[in-house]
């Protein structure tokens, strides 16, 4: 019997006619509340995983596009050629090239700073054959012919070479893909665990209502009538749990996004931004979480229907 239903007497209203107001499937039972809690927890975890996968995917894509929007010209000191003149000439060639937005030549001091991690401070650059760098930023949306730019530099500044970071970008791309696929695998496992735990919790909740199923069956209710009532109730419980869990995850993502914007400009904030970009799961992330809530609620409803049908089979 449903010993978790509050045993109270419904007080009669003076002169009032009795009314059939109770639902066929009881509301507010302990098993129902436990199911909502399980659905909420599992939806929260699944939503966090989904958000993490979306973030990894967008961060990897941001890293790739950041790197792909830049190429580097390296000018080596060769024989008795004037290094400064070669750097200026190479930068001029790049600036005039179609699709280039900006060229920034690293000064001697900046070049020495770049070498500090390896060679230490107080470096006298003139005493070493250190190449000079110019970073070429590409106009957004443009796809310059880097091979042609490389040929022009080789013809006019023989000591200059162009590095379009292709190898690095490829490496980044495969890393990003691996991280995304790994995230998807984890998400799949979390979703399987969610479906299984929600299914078993639903079966447990239905088991506490076995008397209701049996009585309805024996007084002549058709199986579809019984299954529909349970499915409707459990869809409601699944949606309730899903909205609590998924909603909490979305609130958490919103708070972290807000915090990351708030701390933008600080050292920690910059590092965070460099890793995760804007830390926004975007519309795709929100839609994915909403779909997840619907999926888990659907699984709850379907599991209840199957369990009720199985229970009914044991009566026949």
């Amino acid at each position: 019997m449903n010993d978790d239903v509050d045993a109270v007497t419904v007080a009669p209203q003076p002169g009032a006619l009795p009314q059939f107001v109770s639902p066929i499937v009881p509301k507010g039972t302990i098993a129902g509340r436990a199911l909502v809690a399980i659905v909420a927890i599992m939806t929260f975890l699944a939503s966090l995983t989904t958000g993490a996968v979306v973030l990894v995917r967008s961060a990897a894509s941001d890293w790739q596009s950041e790197v792909a929007r830049e190429v580097t010209i390296q000018v080596r000191p060769v024989g008795n050629r004037n290094l400064e003149a070669d750097v200026t000439r190479a930068a001029d060639i790049a600036r005039r090239f179609p699709g280039v937005a900006d060229v920034r030549v690293y000064s001697k001091e900046e070049s020495s700073h770049l070498l500090e991690p390896w060679l230490g401070t107080g470096l006298v650059l003139e005493e070493l054959p250190v190449p000079r760098l110019a970073v070429v930023r590409i106009t957004s949306g443009a796809t310059p012919e880097f091979q042609q730019l490389g040929r022009l530099l080789a013809e006019q500044v023989p000591s200059a070479s162009l590095d379009d970071h292709r190898g690095f970008v490829e490496h980044m791309r495969s890393m990003g893909r691996a991280a995304f696929l790994g995230g998807l695998a984890v998400l799949a496992l979390v979703l399987v665990a969610t479906v299984l735990s929600v299914t078993f919790a639903t079966r447990g909740a239905i088991a506490t209502n076995r008397t209701v199923v049996e009585v309805l069956h024996l007084i002549g209710a058709k199986n579809t009538f019984i299954a529909q009532h349970f499915q409707r109730r459990f869809l409601g419980l699944g949606l309730q749990g899903g909205l609590i869990g998924g909603g909490s995850a979305l609130v958490l993502f919103g708070l972290v996004e807000f915090a990351s914007r708030h701390f933008l400009g600080s050292a920690a904030g910059d590092q965070f931004g460099a890793l995760f970009g804007s830390f926004s799961i975007g519309i795709f992330g929100y839609v994915a979480v909403a779909l997840q809530i619907a999926l888990i609620a659907g699984v709850t409803a379907l599991a209840s229907r199957r369990t009720v049908n199985r229970t009914l089979e044991t009566f026949e």
């Binding site: 239903v5 006619l17 008397t211 024996l218």
Partner: protein
């Protein structure tokens, strides 16, 4: 109304608990089903209210061979049978009124069409003041009467009662028997499964006696 022809029943691979049962239950009839514990009374009652299918033999109910019926047709047949369970099986989250009205609700009747009838029946069985009460706060006798009211509210053609006086004192048992007799006079066939010899002695009716899985009919 009900016809059993050489019906046998076994659970799984166990021995037959009911053997070669052949009998009829006629319209407007009244009978006691009795026998020692373990004789198979509850199994026979479960066959009668379609909670079990026989392992052999033929059962026809209201002219239908139950072996040929699908689930929906079985549900429709069950609506013509009222059952009073020994353990009442009232639904705890529903009031007495709702429990009694449930058979009418599941067939899709509007509440306006049955409310007065349910209230009248509850008053007739002495539960007029308890129609808002939930089963956990009802006494054993009140639960018994609510279970009987639920079984008869849809005016079944056949009423099956499993030990309906098992949980009540002798005076209430007598009142309940009078209730069944009244129902029988209004056209319902009654089968009461009981151990209670005193109860059977109070009313001269046909007796179906089960012994070691076989039935003996005393007209």
């Amino acid at each position: 109304m009900v016809r059993f022809e050489n019906v046998g029943l076994r659970y799984g691979l166990g021995p037959e608990v009911l053997r070669d049962l052949s009998f009829r239950i006629e319209p407007h009839s009244f009978q006691f089903l009795t026998g020692p514990s373990g004789a198979g009374k509850t199994s026979l009652m479960r066959l009668l209210f379609l909670a079990l299918r026989p392992t052999r033999g033929l059962i026809t109910l209201f002219g239908h061979d139950i072996a040929t019926l699908n689930k929906d047709a079985m549900a429709t047949l069950r609506r013509r049978i009222g059952v009073v369970f020994q353990d009442f099986r009232l639904i705890d989250h529903m009031t007495t009124y709702e429990n009694v009205a449930l058979p009418l609700r599941v067939v899709g009747q509007e509440e306006g069409s049955f409310r007065d009838e349910v209230v009248e029946l509850l008053q007739w069985v002495g539960l007029g003041e308890r129609m808002w009460a939930l089963p956990p706060v009802l006494s054993g006798g009140e639960k018994q009467r609510a279970a009987i009211a639920r079984a008869v509210i849809a005016r079944p053609q056949l009423l099956l009662a499993d030990e309906p006086t098992g949980n009540v004192d002798p005076s209430l048992a007598q009142r309940l028997l009078r209730l069944f007799v009244e129902l029988n006079k209004s056209g319902t066939s009654i089968v009461i499964a009981t151990h209670d010899i005193a109860l059977m002695d109070q009313y001269d009716a046909r007796r179906l006696v089960l012994h070691e899985g076989r039935i003996h009919v005393y007209e």
